[in-house]
């Protein structure tokens, strides 16, 4: 989960999942600890027969991903550049891809596939990322995660054409309904980032129409509302409520004042 919180003050940009943004920073701090402890418990646990083989494989792949992060961080700290052919991301992308070849179709391979592609775009090896992506069939369960990686790569490069073409293919031809629906939704997100509001509307409307009673359908509906009514410069929606102390509060009553609305939760 890596999403950035950069949408402030820009009109028409999709709000990114805010929670994940906050975790991004702490992941780095975590990294060193896991370098020391990450791989050891894994070997110990793989002896334990009560652990399902799928889970064990997922742990194994996640340990590889963690190790790749540690090495990339070390490499960058010691002055290594993304363009360096010795960048550890390239080695780990190859390892994860070879894991994929040996274990087709498993949950662990879904992670390995997506993370291999992520390692490549992070060091700007976009053509290699695309070449590898081209080998995935529309029936591949790894798409569940790969779409997120391709959208992140598109955001980084500010070039959405490849993402949109792959996502269109999935939205039409994927067998897994969830992957299909998510692809259509993410096309909306991509156009939103791109600033193409007409296409954004079309995509979210399609999600809402095709998957009305799902969480994704509701999210699409919320985004359609935001596109119309929650742009910078538009009057904020008005509401009247009582405070937790029982005092009535009305947004319309704050005319002439600058208002900060903080949405929060104790959870």
């Amino acid at each position: 989960m890596t999403t950035q919180k950069t949408t402030a003050m820009r009109a028409g940009t999709p709000a990114v999942p805010v929670k994940t943004a906050r975790f991004a920073g702490s992941v780095l701090g975590f990294t060193l600890l896991l370098t020391l402890t990450g791989l050891l418990p894994l070997t110990a646990r793989s002896q334990n027969t009560s652990v399902k083989p799928d889970d064990r494989e997922v742990d194994l792949v996640q340990a590889m991903v963690q190790q790749s992060k540690n090495e990339a961080e070390e490499f960058t700290k010691s002055g290594g550049k993304a363009s360096d052919p010795k960048h550890p991301n390239l080695k780990w992308a190859a390892k994860l891809w070879s894991y994929r070849r040996k274990h087709p179709g498993t949950p662990a391979t879904t992670i390995a596939t997506a993370e291999a592609l992520r390692l490549l775009y992070r060091v700007d090896r976009i053509s290699e990322m695309k070449l590898k992506t081209q080998t995935l069939k529309l029936t591949d369960p790894a798409w569940k995660r790969v779409t997120y990686v391709l959208l992140a790569a598109a955001n980084k490069a500010k070039d959405y054409s490849y993402f949109i073409s792959k996502a269109e293919a999935l939205a039409h031809g994927a067998v897994d309904t969830e992957i299909k629906a998510r692809a259509r939704f993410m096309i909306g997100e991509a156009y939103w980032r791109k600033g193409d509001i007409d296409q954004t509307r079309i995509a979210f409307q399609a999600v809402l129409t095709q998957y009305p009673e799902t969480a994704l359908g509701k999210e699409a509906e919320g985004n359609l509302w935001e596109i119309e009514f929650l742009n910078l410069g538009q009057p904020a929606p008005l509401f009247e409520r009582n405070t937790i102390n029982g005092d009535p509060i009305s947004l319309a009553g704050f005319k002439g004042k600058v208002v900060v609305l903080k949405f929060w939760g104790t959870y």
């Binding site: 402030a8 003050m9 994940t20 910078l232 538009q234 937790i244 004042k257 949405f263 929060w264």
Partner: protein
Amino acid sequence: MGEVPLLKELYDLYKDQGVVVVGISLDEDLKPVQEMVTSKGMTWPQVQDADKSVRKLFNVKGTPFYYLLDKRGRIAAKDIPMKKLGGAIDELLKKD
């Protein structure tokens, strides 16, 4: 410093200069909200949006999430990070 102490500092600084802060808690239970409001000294008005209707009105997808409105009630910033809030408020106070 955490998010809440920073907002508290900001609130204390601006509350007499024409700035309103409204907390909108998405919690379903009132008790933890009241406890946190008391323990952290959050003295600005708090609304409990248990039915998520205000959240829906503003399409809030995660927390914390800030909207900033100008003196005419127009959206001046959405999903603005805490560290930019003070500067943005200063700018808005200069305008009508």
